[in-house]
Each structure stands twice: as structure tokens, then as C-alpha cells.
Subunit: 145 residues, 2 copies
Amino acid sequence: MYEKKIPKNFSCGMAVLMEIIGGKWKSYLIYLINNDVRRPADLQRAIPSASRRVLDLQLRELEFHGIIKRVIYPEMPPKVEYFLTPFGESMLPVVAAMEAWGGEYMETFRQLMESKKKSMLTDGESVEIKDKPVIQRRRTLAKAV
Amino acid sequence: MYEKKIPKNFSCGMAVLMEIIGGKWKSYLIYLINNDVRRPADLQRAIPSASRRVLDLQLRELEFHGIIKRVIYPEMPPKVEYFLTPFGESMLPVVAAMEAWGGEYMETFRQLMESKKKSMLTDGESVEIKDKPVIQRRRTLAKAV
DNA sequence: GGGAATACGGAAAAAATTATCCGTATCCGA
DNA sequence: TCGGATACGGATAATTTTTTCCGTATTCCC
């Protein structure tokens, strides 16, 4: 089993949130569970391109962080369901904001990725060569570190 | 230069947003640039544990997606500054929400990660063994796929 | 000359994440 | 018996991200 070597620094809330939902399928999982897709096999069917192993791993991570809870039913064949916890639900407004922002940008994004695939040369478009500026340099955080 | 083999699917806004700000240092970079830390060397000094190469790469990715723009001043030694674009600024409320949520959870998070390091055996705490439920199964998205 | 400042890209290595493949278990039906 | 259903973990391989190391350039100062 893999053991990480480099310690991570969670000095800002963003880093914490990214650690919690940063895996490839986690946002899909949160969405599906919140929409009543609760059983592992159903989750897998809803995301056919995902590796079952990674779905399991990421479900376990969400569980570890208290975002979801796992309910095991004592029967055969095995029956398990996942539910969002109240804590997990506290994240939903944030997830919705992220989803909304991404949805607005999606069309542009796809065109960008398409043009990137075609040319692999899209640098420089937003480069601006400036004359010597007269703008007064303001205080920077770097100096405070 | 690395070329990805497995195509990614951006069928939801979350996936798009995660692609844009998903790198290890990107959220830090957005925060710093929004707080007037604009020059590459200053960004590096503000995040001493980051690899300079990756900072450059992730700045380029943010630029590619139009989140920031790079301004090159014609002078020696080289002078470059990065600015948030209006589009990048449209992301700030989302970033703030993410930051706020992560900040609230931070203390619990740290304790969790600490206990994980100690025992590597934290599974099962949220497991609930249930009697046969009488809850009526509702429609699932999986069936619609 | 060497070291400091500035900025940054290619190549290769290391670390981390994801995917594949093997295995565990029970029950039911062809 | 085999294949389907259910759920899931260890080991290993493949892919991806991050890091290290090499290099490019100019100017200034000791």
C-alpha cells in the first residue's frame, strides 16, 4: 500500500477542501449520492469509465473525512449504501457554486482544449508587452514573509 | 514533454473547475496574485516549499485558461508581472466560498490527519449496521443511464 | 571570475494517483 | 459447474503530477 513521503501543508482552507474533494471521481460521487444513487454497483454503473477500485478508494476517503457514511445491511448478497452526512451536506452550497461557475465556462473551455489538442501552441495570446509603466508599486505580501 | 494518454471527460462544471484550479499551488497563486504579489520571484518567495518549475508551469496553465494574464516589461533584468483577468476575478466568490468552508473544517481536519498518521486504522467509525429497512426505494439515476 | 539579482524551459527522476488484475465471500438460475 | 448478481481489498502496473537538474539570457557588484 502506497505511503506518501512529502508532508502536505494545509495552511489555507482551499488546500483543505481540495484534499477532501480533489480525487478524480469525488465530485461525481457526492453528486450521485446526493441524488439517491447510493449503492456501489449503481455508482459504478453511473460512472462507467471509472475504475471500480478507485471508486471504492475515494468512497473510503470521503467516509474518512465524514462527508458520507456507509450503511451495511446484514444480508446476502452484500448490501451497502452510502449517505451524505449533515457535514457532507454543509458542503453542497460550495459544490453548487463550483458547478455553476464551471458550467458557465464549459463551452469556452472545450474550445480551448480542442484548439490545444490541434496546435499544442497556444501560449502567448494573453501576453502584453508594456512600455515602462508609471504605476506606483504597492506593498506586496512577499515582503512581509 | 509529457503527453496525456487518457482523454478526460468534462461533462460537469465541477470537472471543469477542478481542471482549472486543481494543481497543487494554483489556489495559492490565485490568492497571492489577487493580493498584489505579481512577480514570479515574489510568488516563489511567498511559497518557499513550492518547486519553481511547477510554479511556472501552473502559472502558464492559469494563463492558458484566461484566469491570469502575463505582462512582460521590456527591460533587463527581465521583469514580468501577472494579473487576474476579469474572467479570473469572476472566480473569486467561488474561491472565497471554498476557502471559508475549508477554514471551518480545518481544525477537525488536522486532528483527523494526525490520528491517521498515528494509527493508519481509522476505518469503520462511521459504519452503521442496519436491520432490514422498511424504506421504500426511490428512483435512482443509475436506472436512467 | 563568481555570485547576486531578474525570468523560464527541456529532460529526467521521484512521488503520487489511477487502473488492472488477482483474490475473498454468498446466493440464484441456466 | 458456470455465470450472473451483490461488495471490496492487496499487489502491481500504468499514467500523471511534481521535483530536481540542467541549461538559456543580461546586468551589477565584490
